[in-house]
């Protein structure tokens, strides 16, 4: 496990080194944070120190940037990320009900991860699939024209797949 983490850190350091030869190297911070999230699934506190050293930017500044943007997770996430689109089109077509049903079924509030570490529930701004509103995205798959009931059925399917 530790070995894997070291491997990831090495990959991250390599990525950072490549950006540092460009003009204005500090401007690649957000790209680097994307990379961290890609590797670890979230932004672990200790990895921020690695980034700080490699990019020569104070950790406090990095943390400030990381907390500003919604896209970055500061806590570990579950196996599947369930994003409920709360864009306007989805909202007027009943996204609120879908969200309530999911909260109840998964047993968490927005931004939380279920106890079995299977699902993290998130709100999304707009997934740009307004034509099939209301939509949710599980990992990178979009499901549309949902109701509270069909949304819960989806979750049940994922749960079953994880068990089997």
């Amino acid at each position: 496990m530790i070995e894997m983490k070291d491997q990831k850190i090495d990959e991250l350091k390599e990525y950072i080194a490549a950006t540092q030869s460009n003009d204005n190297p500090e401007s690649y911070l957000i790209a680097v944070l994307h990379k961290v999230q890609g590797l670890f699934g979230y932004l672990p506190r200790e990895v921020m120190d690695v980034v700080a050293k490699a990019m020569n930017i104070p950790t406090a500044h990095i943390w400030g940037v990381a907390t500003f943007y919604h896209y970055f997770n500061l806590k570990p996430v579950g196996k599947h990320i369930v994003s409920v689109c709360m864009g306007t089109a989805c909202y007027v077509r009943g996204a609120g009900k879908v969200l309530e049903a999911l909260k109840k079924n998964i047993g968490v509030e927005i931004g939380e991860t279920s106890e079995d570490k299977l699902f993290t529930l998130q709100e999304a701004r707009c997934l740009g699939a307004c034509g099939i509103a209301p939509v949710i995205m599980i990992d990178d798959k979009i499901y549309g024209e949902l109701t509270g009931k069909t949304a819960t059925e989806l979750i049940k399917k994922y749960r079953k797949a994880a068990k089997g």
Partner: protein
Amino acid sequence: MPNTEYIITLCDGPSCIHKGSRTVKDALEEAIAKHNMQDKVKIHLSGCLGMCSKGPIVIVNPGYTIYGSVTEADAAEIIEQHLINGKYVTRLVVDEDHLYNRFFRIFGDNDFFGKQMRITLRNCGIIDPENIDDYLSLRGYEALAKVLTELTPKDVIDEVKTSGLRGRGGGGFPTGVKWDFTANAPGDERYVICNADEGDPGAFMDRSAIEGDPHTILEGMAIAGYAIGSTKGIVYIRAEYPLAIKRLEKAIEDASKNNLLGDNILGSEFSFDIEIRLGAGAFVCGEETALIHSIEGSRGMPRPRPPYPSVKGLFGKPTLINNVETWANIPVIILDGGKWFSSIGTETSKGTKVFAVAGMVKNTGLVEVPMGTTLRNIVYDIGGGIEGGGKFKAIQTGGPSGGCLPEEYLDTKVDYESLAAVGSIMGSGGMIVIDEHSCMVDVAKFFLEFTQDESCGKCTPCREGTKRMLEILTRITQGKGKPGDIEKLERLGTMAQRSSLCGLGQSAPNPVLSTIKNFRQEYEDHIFNKKCVAGVCGALLTYTIIEKCVGCGACKRVCPTNAISGTRKQLHTIDQDACIKCGQCYDTCKFEAITKA
């Protein structure tokens, strides 16, 4: 491709993918292989065609036959009947008397009469976005070549000025003037930025434009680079749009290989590179100074202007920022002339505008119309009217910072000034149709929740103003509204409009103020009569069981507070004191025996 007889275009937008377009593609390929027609038939995947409600869409060319709701099973039939026997598969042909069919027929034609007119989306759905040859065959990069060989930088700027093009991101600032300012700002290095941080919920035109025709954006940026003397372009795009990012990367790579980007473009002295930078989910980054801070690797917070980015922008250098849709207009203006462009639209707003029409409307999707088209045309003629048989209540334009307009404003023309005059904005082009089942106070609250959450917190009027307004709105929807609340909202709203630092705070009160102006009665009903006519605000509703009840007991079983009583096969009743108004009984009842009011 000398042997190609048919080109099949498949919509690869998210709606169509969801409805199974990828399996349709496999089935088509299988059928083509079965009949040994691989050399004769070419399959394209296109960006979103904007016919989301009819997906998956398959278009067979030549002939522009559009098939809708195609399933895996239909694929073989299309190949056999249409391609081999030369007969239409009539039951699948999308045949409605609105413009979806028509605009495909007028593509490539200069006939811009009719309700839709595609300039910025001219290639979307026509070309394979991942194939540069397709773009080149439709006069792609010809504008760039023309600029490099025939025009001086000043000529280019003058042409854009003549066109009357204004910023499509919502601000509406004259594009040519912005170019001129940047070109004349002192400095040895300049930047060109494409703002693709499409954060408005309910808006997806930039995503579709990039996914459907990425080269147009690159060409527009390169032309600007030549005009203002810049060698470096940056596309700032949302991380939430992976497909658009992938296609842009491919487009940049292909353009560089063909010497259309990079050093000494087409053998000229001019060099220009484009880099992609990802956003990370902050709505305020659509504001230009915030966007610059984000590219610099900081928190995306706006700063006071002036100095404008055209003087002091990215890394302190003069910077030209335009929105995706603005960029897509540039090659057309150069090729067909600013004068031609300015013949479209209204007195002050030229050209076309793309709108993402969504919400309670039959045909959700993208439409591009000349400026000056009325809202009614868009909702009823192009959009096909209200979905689900409800009654039209309001149209919300301009995203979360726009206003809600009731029926009497449906004949308003869409251009920057007309929309502003009735209390809404053009914004980036989101258009949400709201029917009678939505409560306007709740809608205002919904938008304010969004802007409040997205407020970066730098300036007080926006940070505190939106927060206090949201508290009042929440109170009203919970039935705790007090006399004087409406006036307080108006006062706070006007204050935030006038004194906020950037566009986010200045426009955040729009949904609240416009709903108060146009739907004041609903606010008063909530506050004084404790009633929500639309039946949305839970705390103000009363659930009652009427005679239709068959006594099945389903409602009784789901009620979390045991407020429902009654014996089997008898009329049930709800104890109003125990009822927490969760609405579960209402949703469960199969006999429509529970009413809410």
